[in-house]
Subunit: 207 residues, 2 copies
DNA sequence: GCAAAAATCCCTCTTTCCGGTGATTTTGCG
DNA sequence: CGCAAAATCACCGGAAAGAGGGATTTTTGC
């Protein structure tokens, strides 16, 4: 018996999912909340196996709520639920411990599959969500300015905290050279300073 | 009818999966390869819906093979397959376009569930893999020195390329204050300078 | 209410960064 | 070979960061 709880500020969605699940023999509907606070309130004295969680809530966004839930009750699985198919939020929610993601307009089969997979400890994304996620993950490799081998080498050393003079010594070149590479990197990658350079590099897996 | 191809250098695994799938009515076994080259050779004149792909191959690792396949044949879904339950490789394989991951010692049900989910365009991880992936993703939050709210705020602005004076203006405080926060961050996180600070922050998802 | 933690502010000095503007030498490739 | 890109080196000057001292005032947690 899988106990399901839902958090969503749209009554229509709650009703929809409820009617979709109410005839399932292995699924028990334990309750719902329309905001993060009452959801957390419920879990003080009750529990569930799976929370279907909207990403847009009036008092707290789903990403943060997910983090709080997984922090307090690691055994409760969170299944993201949204109309908007946005890779960024999905990714963040997964990083905060969610077990999957489906769209509100998913088919009955999709919803049931997702619930069962998640209840088994698996991770599940419905098809369209998977597409969005892949697209988001692939945003990096496209249109990256060409960075030369030496520049990448310098970039790596900068990321490790070495200064221009230190890098110059390591590479047996003048510090002017290293400085040139650094400036070229900043120009090529269209960033303002070293901080942004490193952020860009790490996010795009250049280091 | 789901056409399944498998790449694995262990005959035992190929046989195992084969016998596991051969009585499934909606699954067609279209062939197998024991290394990356012959797998790529197969796809020159043939195709499949799903490739079950080992992560350890003699001539090329699964992560790279996955990238090549998805590059040449984006419509073919790759389902990772391994004995080793290593978060890092799983993550890399997913970044290269895989649609899921299962362990070789997964149950018959798990394998079939995964194949069907992936064939539907969904993303699927078997339970143990999900655990490993979460564990890997969660490697960050452990043993992180306590960073105050204000420090995190400053950290975010540094990562966006703002200088101390700029941040001071944004937050309506003195630049000395911002400088203090920056220094405290560098001290707390035990890094040498801003470059390392940002690298650490991005890698540990503080920004 | 009290102590600890956080947030705020201030100063000096040295080093590093960053922008701009050059140049020469080496290397990769058709 | 010859061209283009990469890699190298050089200087200036202002801005910012980093190391080292302090200090005070709010919050916040018991």
């Amino acid at each position: 018996m899988i106990r399901v709880f839902i958090v969503d500020d749209h009554p229509v969605v709650i009703e929809g999912i409820h009617s979709l699940l109410q005839h399932e023999k292995d699924i028990e509907w334990v309750g719902h909340a329309m905001n993060a606070q009452s959801c957390l309130g419920y879990f003080v004295h009750n529990t569930a196996d799976i929370i279907l969680m909207d990403i847009n809530l009036p008092d707290m966004n789903g990403v943060d709520l997910c983090a709080v839930i997984k922090e307090k009750y690691p055994g409760v699985f969170v299944l993201g639920l949204s109309t908007s198919n946005q890779g960024l939020y999905i990714k963040k929610m997964m990083e905060n411990g969610a077990s999957g993601y489906i769209l509100k307009n998913s088919s009955r089969e999709d919803v049931l599959k997702a619930i069962h997979a998640v209840a088994d400890g698996c991770i599940y994304f419905s098809g369209e969500v998977g597409e969005a996620l892949k697209q988001y993950q692939k945003s990096a490799p496209v249109a990256l300015p060409a960075i030369s081998r030496r520049e990448r080498e310098v970039l790596g050393l900068i990321a490790e905290g070495y200064t221009n003079p230190e890098i110059a010594e390591k590479l047996f070149v003048s510090q002017f050279t290293v400085d040139s590479h650094r400036k070229n990197l900043i120009a090529k990658l269209n960033v303002k300073n070293t901080a942004m350079l490193i952020r860009f590099a790490v996010e795009h897996k250049l280091v």
